[in-house]
């Protein structure tokens, strides 16, 4: 019980703007290094090393941008939902910043997932778009992100606006399992999940490693941009505080 309380206290202490600024600034160079290494291997592997798929030919190589973008669009919303809980329950100051700056990144990844999916769908399905369960729910996710961004920019009172935004994020979270399970619940054109935690992987290992590398690279990119944005937000808000001089 004491260990759990200490652990919780330690986690909460990292929510302080000063600690976050200090540790994120230290971490950023390493994130950049990891990003470039993962991206290099992912692109080289995906475009050159990996053989063509026996059914889809070289068109399957779009998987190396499509799947990471789609995965991140869901992952980022999950992070936003967690930040929304932190806002509502613990009133942690950094949490609304996390929601605000994650939303545009999530919208970007949703957009990329839809565009790259469309470019993949045309040669494979013969169409740029179809009102398939997976595609439609992903489009709804993009609208959710855009709605959150618009609401945040329109809300006049920051404190009340942050709490309402957090509630909106949590309501929208219902779309995440719908997107994930859409290929199982409905008869969809979209193929089933390539990667799953609870079932065997349906992709050859030679194709898998560059895919995992690209997913990791996209993750690192998200944290790089998120930390940078949160840091400049903190600088802008607290520029007269002396603690910034030591950061």
């Amino acid at each position: 019980m004491i260990l759990n309380n200490n652990f919780i206290q330690t986690c909460i202490s990292f929510a302080s703007p000063k600690k976050f600024f200090y540790y994120s600034t230290k971490l950023l160079p390493w994130l950049y290094v990891g990003f470039f290494l993962a991206l290099s291997y992912g692109l080289f592997g995906g475009l050159y090393l990996v053989p063509a798929d026996y059914q889809q030919g070289d068109a399957f190589r779009i998987i190396y941008v499509h799947v990471p973008a789609a995965f991140l669009s869901l992952f980022i919303y999950s992070i936003m939902a967690f930040a929304a809980l932190l806002t509502l329950i613990f009133n942690i100051k950094l949490a609304p910043f996390m929601i605000k700056h994650s939303a545009s990144l999530g919208a970007t990844y949703s957009f990329l997932a839809l565009v790259t999916g469309s470019l993949w769908g045309k040669p494979m399905w013969g169409t740029w778009w179809i009102w398939d369960a997976r595609l439609t729910s992903e489009l709804i996710l993009l609208f959710l992100y855009l709605g959150i961004l618009l609401f945040q920019s329109a809300s006049a009172h920051k404190s009340a606006g942050n709490r309402i935004t957090a509630i909106l994020v949590l309501i929208g979270f219902v779309d995440i399992p719908i997107i994930h399970y859409s290929v199982y619940w409905w008869n969809t054109l979209h193929q089933g999940a390539t990667l799953s935690l609870f079932s065997p992987i349906k992709i050859a290992s030679s194709m898998l490693y560059p895919l995992l590398s690209m997913i990791f690279a996209f993750c690192l990119y998200f944290f790089i941009v998120l930390f940078t944005r949160m840091n400049y937000e903190l600088i802008a808000l607290q520029k007269n505080y002396q603690w910034l001089e030591s950061a």
Partner: protein, 51 residues
């Protein structure tokens, strides 16, 4: 040269593959660039206020 043109052609799928990668790289780069420039402006403003 033949290998390069084959690589770009991707057995006829290059017209879909390269725009997918190109749009992804472009959008992510622009997003990062705007973020980095704003961060740099903030940092410069911070140094000026402390000097």
């Amino acid at each position: 040269m033949n290998t390069l043109s084959q690589f770009i052609n991707m057995n006829g799928y290059g017209i879909y593959i390269w725009p997918a990668y190109g749009i992804t790289v472009f959008v992510l780069f622009i997003q990062w660039l705007f973020t980095f420039r704003r961060w740099r402006r903030c940092k410069l403003g911070q140094h000026e206020s402390h000097s």
